[in-house]
């Protein structure tokens, strides 16, 4: 079952990455629910990860890309923790998590 995997090249990865990235951006833009936005954000980050890992696999300098990807993972986890804490706080103080309603930063 692994045979066809050998034929997958860099371009395939980049395409999937691009699709993921676009899906992520669209999610971030289209969702009004803060958790949805966060999920979109994760997609974007993982699209980037995918590219990094792909370049690592096919590129000249092995492991470098993966190290970056691990960094991204760690940062993403931290970011998720903080963002979720913010979401919780927002939800507690305002009883909703619609990002359009949360506009206290308005100039």
């Amino acid at each position: 079952m692994t045979g066809f995997l050998e034929h997958i090249g860099l371009m395939h990865f980049l395409t999937v990455g691009a699709v993921l990235f676009c899906a992520g951006i669209v999610t971030v833009l289209a969702r009004r629910n803060a958790v949805g936005v966060l999920i979109g954000l994760e997609l974007v980050l993982n699209a980037a990860n995918l590219n990094l890992v792909a370049f690592d696999r096919f590129g000249p300098a092995p492991l470098r890309g993966s190290v970056f990807a691990i960094f991204v993972l760690a940062v993403a986890a931290a970011e998720a923790a903080i963002a979720l804490a913010i979401v919780l706080n927002v939800f507690d103080s305002r009883d909703e998590i619609d990002v359009d309603e949360v506009s206290a930063l308005k100039g």
Partner: protein
């Protein structure tokens, strides 16, 4: 025979299940059902007794076949089964008989109680657990029965725990005995670590062949003794038993006089081969001290049940004294006779309390013999038996045997025992005189007093007869039941009951009679004023006795309060120390970030701010772009990045 043994246990267990499920809805709330099941159990144990008397023993092959593989660890198998020998047969007979009589008694005594059905259910559960304890062929199952009787004792002492006092007493009983149980757990661990078995046979074989070294045996047996001291209310763990009198009186008769408290004696008797000379000396000393101490406290109690409770503690002390002096047979003999006459007196006191509308203070009784002839007469038999009235009563023979044993081993302890015997006769007669003789002290109570109905008097009569005849070697229960077992468990050097010396017997007779006569003279023939005058020089002593030598206060200050304080301190330490450290780390991290935030704001930002001020004016216009909407920003970002990318790619 195995079937009979199972019937003995399973009949009351079935009774418990049925009674707790349907008891409330049955006619008469199911008391007949439970009396029938315990009756069946009694019949089965009589049959069993007859078989053992007939010389039948359980075929080892059958016993082994009936063992049940309970658990396995590696290649160790924990088997459970039943053991039937002379001791078991006697214990089964005593337990089921007293349980049966108490069931009958309760059907009148507890009448009208809102939880009548529940009371019988728990009596059944108690009987089951006690029988499990007696029939167990290994220490672990014995321990299970041991704990379960503790649970039933807790439930029954606290039967009226709508009020605070019974609840407290029940808790005290459970926790105090649980402290003793630590000894049992320690003994289990010690024995198991070396023999990988709990079965009595394996344990004893290991002890006699020396594969259990004598140091282990000593420690294990001291552990067992500690457990027995908890259950049998021996000094210094005796404090719970007097409080346990908050329970209904039939419960006191069954659990706290005849059966459960005697389980400690049974345990020591059963595990006798583990006891070394060193630990037996401790057993004897504990017994002797308890016998005298409880006797002294009993002198100054005015609650009829409290006197009986301390008397129980004292008599159990006698049994331990006997066991410690290698008078195994005498101690177990005393266990049975004591079960009869103490159950008799407790039920008698129940009859009195019932008649006097739940008055328990002896200072408000008096002259009740006339009103309650059957109760009074049977009670008097009980008093004679416990005082060891010579040649007639059962108590005389058993107590004499113990004293003879003590005389043989530790003469000093025999003198202690004699002192306790004088005390016993004296305070028991005091109780009898204050309750049944003399003039009524409270007319109101006296007016209401009446003889109890048949279900209550019948058990009294049966027990009264047994308190006399149990001393005689009737169907050969000494020669055929106890003595072979005694020979089996006590290796060389055991003192048999019949080897008494004339000196001891004379001393015992004198002690008993002296106590009785002194009691009679002082409490029946002397005017109360004169008694008061006589007592005056000993006022300090009497206060000490009345306050039970201050054990309750001692434990409150030395155990309970420190434990609570420790709990409070540890709880504080947990919240402030351990958890505080965790919170501290969090707080440090936060203040660090705040610190760098401050530096950022003042230093870095300070420089920027100058520029900022200039920009501010222009920025004011641009600020309209700030919608505060998150998505606008993202969209703007995406558009810019996309534009830049597009531009760059050309």
């Amino acid at each position: 025979m195995l079937t009979l043994a199972l019937v003995v246990v399973l009949a009351p267990f079935g009774g418990f299940l049925l009674q707790s499920a349907f008891g409330r809805r049955l006619p008469r709330q199911g008391d007949w059902l439970t009396i029938a099941t315990i009756g069946a159990s009694f019949a089965a144990s009589c049959a069993l007794l007859a078989k053992v008397l007939g010389g039948e023993t359980l075929d080892p092959a059958v016993v082994a076949g009936a063992r049940f593989d309970w658990l396995r660890f590696g290649d160790v198998v924990w088997r459970v089964g039943v053991k039937v020998d002379g001791l078991t047969a006697v214990m089964l007979f005593v337990v089921t008989l007293v349980a049966f009589l108490v069931h009958v008694f309760s059907s009148a005594y507890m009448k009208g109680d809102p939880k009548y059905w529940k009371f019988f259910a728990w009596l059944q559960m108690f009987s089951t657990s006690m029988l499990v304890l007696v029939l167990a062929d290994n220490l672990l199952v014995l321990f299970i029965g041991w704990e379960l009787v503790g649970l039933c004792s807790y439930k029954l002492i606290g039967f009226w725990s709508e009020k605070a006092a019974p609840g407290n007493a029940a808790r005290k009983a459970f926790i105090t005995t649980r402290i003793g149980d630590l000894g049992m757990v320690a003994a289990l661990m010690l024995v198991y670590a070396q023999t990988k078995s709990f079965a009595f046979e394996d344990m004893f074989r290991a002890a006699t062949t020396g594969s259990l070294d004598s140091q282990t045996c000593t420690w294990a047996s001291l552990g067992l003794l500690f457990a027995a001291m908890g259950k049998s209310a021996q000094f210094p763990l005796h404090v719970w038993l007097p409080d346990a009198m908050e329970g209904p009186t039939p419960v006191s008769a069954l659990i706290h006089a005849a059966t459960m408290v005697a389980a400690g004696v049974y345990l020591v008797g059963r595990c006798y081969p583990l006891f070394t000379d060193a630990s037996l000396l401790v057993v004897a000393a504990v017994g002797g001290v308890t016998a005298v101490m409880a006797g002294l406290i009993a002198l100054a109690q005015d609650d009829i049940k409290k006197v009986l409770a301390y008397s129980t503690v004292s008599q159990l002390g006698f049994m331990f004294l006997g066991l410690g002096c290698k008078a195994w047979h005498a101690a177990l003999f005393h266990l049975t006779t004591h079960a009869f006459f103490k159950a008799l007196m407790f039920l008698g006191s129940g009859s009195v309390i019932h008649a006097c509308h739940h008055e328990q203070d002896m200072r408000r009784m008096g002259g009740l013999w006339r009103k309650m002839p059957i109760t009074g007469t049977t009670f008097f038999v009980g008093v004679l038996a416990i005082a060891g009235f010579p040649f007639v009563t059962a108590g005389f023979y058993s107590k004499d045997a113990i004293l003879a044993g003590a005389w043989h081993m530790h003469p000093a302890l025999a003198w202690v025992g004699l002192g306790a015997a004088v005390l016993t006769a004296f305070y028991m007669f005091r109780l009898f005189a204050m309750t049944f003789l003399g003039k009524p002290k409270d007319e109101h109570v006296f007016e209401h007093a009446h003889e109890s109905p048949l279900p209550m008097t019948l058990p009294l009569v049966v027990l009264g007869v047994l308190s006399v005849v149990a001393g005689w070697d009737l169907v050969g229960w000494h020669t055929k039941l106890l003595e072979p077992t005694a020979a089996a468990v006590t290796s060389a050097g055991s003192v048999h009951g019949h080897e008494h010396s004339e000196v001891v017997m004379t001393l015992a007779i004198v002690a008993g009679l002296f106590g009785l006569v002194a009691g009679f003279v002082l409490f029946a023939k002397t005017s109360p004023a004169r008694v008061a005058a006589l007592k005056r020089p000993f006022a300090a002593l009497e206060r000490a006795f009345a306050r039970k030598f201050g054990f309750d206060e001692l434990y409150r200050e030395l155990v309970l309060r420190p434990a609570y304080t420790l709990a409070k301190i540890l709880s504080w330490a947990d919240a402030e120390g351990v958890d505080g450290a965790v919170n501290g780390i969090g707080r440090t991290a936060r203040s660090a970030s705040r610190g760098s935030g401050w530096a950022d704001a003042k230093v870095v930002d300070g420089a920027v701010r100058g520029t900022g001020a200039a920009v501010l004016a222009g920025g004011g216009g641009l600020s309209r772009l700030q919608s505060g909407r998150f998505r606008t920003y993202v969209a703007a970002g995406v558009v810019v990045v996309a534009t830049v990318l597009v531009v760059l790619s050309f």
